[in-house]
C-alpha cells in the first residue's frame, strides 16, 4: 500500500506522458501520434474538471466570509456567489449564444477586462516618476534608451525630426534584438534543464516535496 501511496507513481506517470509527447514529435509513427493526441485530449478534460475545484474554493472562501461577517467584505461575497451561480446557470441552460448571456458578457466582462488592463497607464506614469531603485550608470542607460524608444513611437516627434525614427529603429533592430536573442537562448536552456530535472525526478514541486 505504501508503494501505491508513494510519490513514485505520479512521477512515473509524468515521465511516460512526457516521453509520449516527445516521441510523437521526433518519431511521428501513426500509433504513437494517435496515442499522444489522445493523451492531450485527456489533459484538456482533466483541466476542465479542475475548474470545479476552483469554483469550490471560491464558494468556500466566500461563504466563510459571510459566516464570519468579515468587515466590509461579506455583502460583496454574497453578491459574488449570486453572480457566479446566476451566470453559470444562464450559460449552461440557455447556452452562451443567448442574448442575456451575451449582454452581460459584452457590457460586464469585456468592459471590466479592458478597464483593468488599461489601469496600467495610471501606474506607468507614477512608476516613471519614481523611476528606478538601482541608481547608477545602468539606470541612466535604461532611461536614455527608454526615452529614444518612446520618441520613435511619438508620431509628432518623428514628423519633427525623422532621425528619432532611425535611432529608435536601430535600437530595436540591433541592441534590442541582440539582448532578446540572448535572453531567449538562455531562458530556453533554463527551461529545458528544468524539464529534464523534472523527468529525472529531481524537481518535484508539483508533488509538494
Amino acid at each position: 500500500m505504501s508503494f501505491i501511496k508513494s510519490k513514485t507513481i505520479p512521477l512515473v506517470i509524468t515521465v511516460i506522458v512526457a516521453i509520449f509527447m516527445l516521441l510523437e514529435y521526433y518519431f511521428p509513427v501513426p500509433g504513437i501520434k494517435s496515442t499522444a493526441k489522445t493523451i492531450r485530449d485527456w489533459a484538456v478534460i482533466i483541466a476542465a474538471f479542475a475548474l470545479g475545484l476552483g469554483a469550490a474554493n471560491l464558494l468556500r472562501i466566500h461563504s466563510l466570509n459571510i459566516q464570519r461577517r468579515t468587515t466590509g467584505i461579506w455583502p460583496f461575497s454574497i453578491w459574488l456567489i449570486f453572480m457566479l451561480l446566476l451566470f453559470f446557470v444562464v450559460g449552461v441552460t440557455l447556452s452562451i449564444e443567448h442574448t442575456a448571456y451575451k449582454w452581460i458578457y459584452q457590457n460586464g466582462y469585456l468592459v471590466l477586462y479592458a478597464s483593468v488592463f488599461s489601469l496600467i497607464s495610471f501606474y506607468v506614469i507614477t512608476s516613471f516618476y519614481r523611476a528606478m531603485s538601482i541608481r547608477s550608470i545602468e539606470t541612466s542607460i535604461l532611461i536614455v534608451c527608454a526615452i529614444f524608444a518612446m520618441l520613435k513611437n511619438t508620431p509628432a516627434a518623428v514628423a519633427f525630426w525623422p532621425g528619432f525614427e532611425t535611432i529608435g529603429t536601430w535600437l530595436l533592430d540591433v541592441p534590442n534584438a541582440s539582448v532578446h536573442r540572448a535572453a531567449i537562448l538562455t531562458a530556453a536552456i533554463g527551461s529545458i534543464a528544468l524539464s529534464i530535472r523534472v523527468l529525472m525526478g529531481r524537481e518535484r514541486a508539483q508533488l509538494a516535496e
Partner: protein, 210 residues
C-alpha cells in the same frame, strides 16, 4: 429608435469602468463591487466553457464508443479525492498527467525555435560586410555573448579568466539594461493605446462628444 439593451449596456459598462479606475485613488467599495463582479463573471464563464469542452471533447467520443475516454473522466474525478484525508494521495495522479503534457510540449517547443534557429541566425551575420553593417553585426554578437555570460552562475570569478569574465558580466548587465529601456519605451505605446480606447468609449460612446 433607442435600443434599451444597448443604452443600459453602455451605462452599466461606463459605471464599471469608472469603479475599476477608482482604485488609483484608494481601494473602496465601488472598486470592490466591480472586482467581485469580475471574478464571479470570469469564474462562471470559464466554468461554462469547461462544461462545454467536457461535453464536446470527452462525452461525445465516449458516447460514440471510444471507451478509452472513460480514463480522463476517472482522472478528473480523482482530483476531488483531495477532500478526503484517506484518499488524497490519488489526487497527485491527474496532476502528474498535466505536468507530463506541459513538460513534454515545453521541451519540444523550445529547441528548434528558441535555440537552433536563433544560433543559426547569429552564425549567419556578415562580419566583413560594409562598415555600418559590420559594426552593427559585431555589436550584436558582443552584446549577445555578454548577456549570455551574465546568466552563467557557477563558474569561479578568480584568476585572469575570472577577471575577463567579470568584465563580460558587467557589460552584460549594461546590455540588459539597454534592452530593458528599449522594451520599456515600446511597451508604453501599447498601454497608452488601450487607455486611449477606453477614453474613446467614455467620451464618444458614453458622453457622445466628438
Amino acid at each position: 429608435m433607442v435600443d434599451l439593451a444597448q443604452i443600459s449596456g453602455i451605462w452599466f459598462g461606463a459605471a464599471l469602468n469608472i469603479f475599476i479606475w477608482s482604485l488609483v485613488f484608494k481601494e473602496n467599495r465601488f472598486y470592490r463591487f466591480a472586482e467581485y463582479t469580475f471574478i464571479a463573471l470570469s469564474a462562471a464563464h470559464f466554468s461554462v466553457l469547461g462544461v462545454k469542452s467536457i461535453l464536446t471533447i470527452g462525452w461525445i467520443p465516449l458516447s460514440t464508443g471510444k471507451i478509452s475516454y472513460i480514463i480522463p473522466f476517472i482522472f478528473g474525478f480523482l482530483l476531488y479525492t483531495r477532500f478526503s484525508e484517506y484518499w488524497r494521495w490519488l489526487s497527485h495522479w491527474p496532476i502528474a498527467i498535466l505536468v507530463g503534457v506541459g513538460i513534454g510540449l515545453g521541451i519540444r517547443g523550445a529547441i528548434d525555435i528558441q535555440i537552433i534557429k536563433q544560433i543559426r541566425a547569429t552564425m549567419k551575420l556578415a562580419v566583413f560586410a560594409n562598415p555600418m553593417e559590420a559594426f552593427n553585426n559585431i555589436l550584436f554578437v558582443i552584446m549577445l555573448i555578454s548577456v549570455v555570460s551574465y546568466f552563467i552562475f557557477t563558474f569561479a570569478q578568480e584568476g585572469t579568466l575570472g577577471k575577463g569574465y567579470n568584465y563580460l558580466y558587467r557589460l552584460g548587465r549594461l546590455a540588459l539594461m539597454a534592452g530593458f529601456g528599449i522594451a520599456l519605451g515600446n511597451t508604453v505605446a501599447v498601454r497608452l493605446a488601450l487607455f486611449t480606447s477606453r477614453w474613446i468609449f467614455l467620451i464618444k460612446d458614453f458622453l457622445g462628444i466628438g
